[in-house]
Symmetry: C2
DNA sequence: GTGAAAGCGCTAACAT
DNA sequence: ATGTTAGCGCTTTCAC
C-alpha cells in the first residue's frame, strides 16, 4: 500500500531502509540461496514498514512476472468458471496471479490474445478448448510453457487435460436407451477442420454418440449446428420437421439443450412427456429448478486444478516430458429425461 | 510471430535491419513527433519483415503497457459478459489490450487483484461493482486511472458509469401494480456497510422499490438475503411461510429469481398463475424459453462502452474533471408476470 | 528530423 | 553470506 500520491516504493528504498544491498532484498523476495536469517528478518521488516510490493512488470524483464494467463473461448459458457475455480484454488498458495483473456471466438482473436499475453511476459498459459490449429499451438508452446485443456490428442510440447468425451456421450446414449428410447438424435457443433475433427471435444462427443449408438444397435441421427442456444433451437426445429421424429435429443452442450427446450416449448411439446432432452457440461443452469436438465458432469474444478499443477511443473522444468491427464465424466440425471412415451 | 525457438526480436534488431536508431523505431511505434515519412516506411517494413512485436512488459518500465485491467466480482453472473463486450468493442481499434481478474468475492480478494494489476503496470482499471470501501477506491484511483461501474455516488478521483436502479425498480413495481398486484414483495441483498448502503446497486434497487411502492400507496414487504440462487430460494421460502402471502415477487437479480422459481416449483405453485415473479439484469437465461423471466435490461454493452471511453480519456489526461454517466434501464416483459390471480 | 546515452525496477553473474 | 555491476527491452531527455 503506497501512500496515494508520490513515487512507488522500490527495492532500492527497501535496501536503504534495511541497510543492505538490493541483491539481498531480491534474494529474500525470491527465497533464493544465500541469505542469513538475520538478514531476512531485517529485509522483511523493511518491506513491512515501507509497504513495499515488487513491481512484477520490472521483474519480468530479467526473471519472471509471476503471472499466468488463461485463455477461455466463451465467458458466457457457465462451464468455464468451474475450471477457473480449480485453477485459482491450486494457485492460491503460490506467488502466481491469474489473469484472463477476454473471451474470443475466432482463431484470429486467440492469436491476438495469446500474443498479448506473451508480450506481457506471462510465465505460462492455460488454453481452454482453443481453436488454434495444432502447429500454431505447438509453436506457441515452444515460446511459453502451456497447458491445453479440453483438446484431445498428444503433443510433446504442451501438457493436456481432457475429459473423456467418448465415455460421456455413451453415458447419455445408454441412459436414454435404458429408458426405452430407440430414436435418439444428437445435435453437434459442426466441425470441418481435419485436426480439430479429432481433437475438439464437440467432435469427440459426436464420435462417442456414434460409437454408443452402434454398440446398442441403434440408428444414428445427427444434426450439425453450433454450440449455442440458437444452434439448439435451429437443430430442434430440423428434428421436429422430420417425418419420423426422434423421441429423445442429446444436445452436445447444456446451452444447446436450452435452445432445444425453447423450441419444444414453442411447439407445445412437453418434456419429458413428449420428448426427452439431455445436455452436456452440467452447467449452473442445468441445475436450476425450472430447468432441471439431465447432463454430464465434467468435474471442471479438477480439470482446472490439474491444468494449474501441470503448468507450474512445466514452468519449473521446461524440459520435462509432456503429460496427458484424462478425467472421467459422470451422469447427472434430472427431470428432462424419462421413459419412452407410449 | 517469432520463429519458434530462439531469442525474441527486439527493437534493436529492427533498428539494425532498417539502418536507423532505436529511438527512431520507438517513435514510429508510438506515432510520436519527429519522424519523416520515409523513415516511417523503412521502419514499418523492417517490423513486418522481422515479425517484430513490442514487448509490452518492457515498455511499461518507462512508458505504458497498453493494458487495461477489468475487475469483475462474479464471472458466473451472466450480466457481466455484456459489459465486457462493450469494453472490448470500444477498445478494439486502439492499441490497448484487456485482461480480466479472476472473479472475487471479498474485499480482500479485490485488494489482492487490483494490487496485482497495478504491479503489472496496467495503464488503467475498470472496476465492476467493487466491494472495496470508498476511501480505498479513492486511494487506488490516485495510483492508477480508474473507472467504477455500477456504484452510485460521485468521486473526484474516478469516473463512474451507473444504471438508474431507482428507475429500474420502479419499472418492475409499476408493471406489477398495473397488473393489479397490491402485495408485491422484494428480495434484496443484505447490506450493512454505511457507504455501500448508498452506493451499491442492490441497496439502491431496494430503495427504488420502497419509493415506488410508497408512490403507489402499497405496503412494503422486504426480505433480506443475498444475490444468489440460494438467496432467492430462501427468500421465497420465507415469503411462502407468511400468513398473508404476496401475489408477486420482485427479485433484485435474475439469479435470485431463479431460486424463487425453484422454490415455487417445489411448492407446487404455478407462475404466473399463482404468483408473478420478476428479476433484474435481463441476463441470458432470463430469455431462455423454459424460463422466460420478466426482467429489467441494463444495456450492459453501453455501460461497458462508456466505461472504456472514460478510462481512455482519463489515461490521456489524469487531471480531467471526473465524469458520471448514468444510463436508463428498460423493462422486458416475459411470461413470469401476469394479472393478479382472482 | 535524427540519434546517443541514461535509466525505469529488478535479477543474475560475478566478485569478495 | 554479502555486495558490485551489468544488463533485460524499451522510452525519454537532450544533443546535434
Amino acid at each position: 500500500m503506497d501512500s496515494g500520491t508520490g513515487r512507488r516504493v522500490t527495492i532500492v528504498d527497501v535496501a536503504r531502509h534495511a541497510k543492505v544491498s538490493t541483491t539481498a532484498v531480491s534474494k529474500v523476495l525470491r527465497n533464493a540461496y544465500g541469505t542469513s536469517p538475520s538478514m531476512r528478518a531485517k529485509v522483511q521488516q523493511a518491506i513491512e514498514e515501507l509497504g513495499y510490493r515488487p513491481y512484477a512488470a520490472a521483474r519480468g524483464l530479467r526473471g519472471k512476472t509471476y503471472t499466468i494467463g488463461v485463455l477461455l473461448p466463451d465467458i458466457r459458457n457457465p462451464f468455464f468458471p468451474d475450471i477457473l475455480d480449480g485453477i485459482k484454488d491450486t494457485l492460491r498458495d503460490t506467488d502466481y496471479q491469474v489473469l484472463l483473456g477476454p473471451s474470443c471466438d475466432s482463431e484470429k482473436d486467440e492469436a491476438t490474445i495469446t500474443n498479448a499475453m506473451i508480450d506481457r511476459g506471462m510465465d505460462g498459459l492455460i488454453l481452454i478448448a482453443p481453436l488454434l490449429p495444432r502447429p500454431l499451438l505447438e509453436r506457441l508452446a515452444k515460446t511459453v510453457p502451456a497447458v491445453v485443456v479440453g483438446r484431445h490428442g498428444h503433443s510433446d510440447h504442451y501438457d493436456t487435460v481432457t475429459d473423456d468425451d467418448i465415455t460421456g456421450a455413451a453415458l447419455i446414449v445408454n441412459h436414454l436407451a435404458d429408458l426405452g428410447h430407440r430414436h435418439i438424435a444428437h445435435i453437434e457443433h459442426r466441425e470441418t477442420d481435419p485436426t480439430r475433427l479429432s481433437e475438439m471435444p464437440n467432435a469427440v462427443r459426436a464420435e462417442g454418440y456414434r460409437q454408443a449408438m452402434r454398440t446398442r444397435g441403434l440408428e444414428i441421427d445427427l444434426v450439425s449446428t453450433t454450440y449455442t442456444q440458437e444452434g439448439g433451437y435451429l437443430g430442434a426445429q430440423q428434428l421436429l420437421a422430420r417425418p419420423h421424429r426422434p423421441t429423445a435429443v442429446f444436445a452436445g452442450a447444456d446451452i444447446v439443450a436450452m435452445g432445444v427446450l425453447t423450441a419444444l416449448t414453442e411447439a407445445g411439446l412437453s418434456v419429458p412427456g413428449d420428448m426427452s432432452v439431455a445436455g452436456y457440461d452440467n452447467t449452473t443452469f442445468a441445475a436450476l429448478g425450472p430447468i432441471s436438465l439431465t447432463s454430464v458432469d465434467q468435474a471442471g474444478h479438477e480439470i482446472g486444478g490439474n491444468a494449474a499443477r501441470l503448468l507450474l511443473a512445466r514452468i519449473a522444468d521446461r524440459k520435462r516430458p509432456s503429460t496427458q491427464v484424462k478425467l472421467s465424466p459422470t451422469l447427472v440425471v434430472r427431470r428432462t429425461t424419462g421413459p419412452l412415451p407410449l
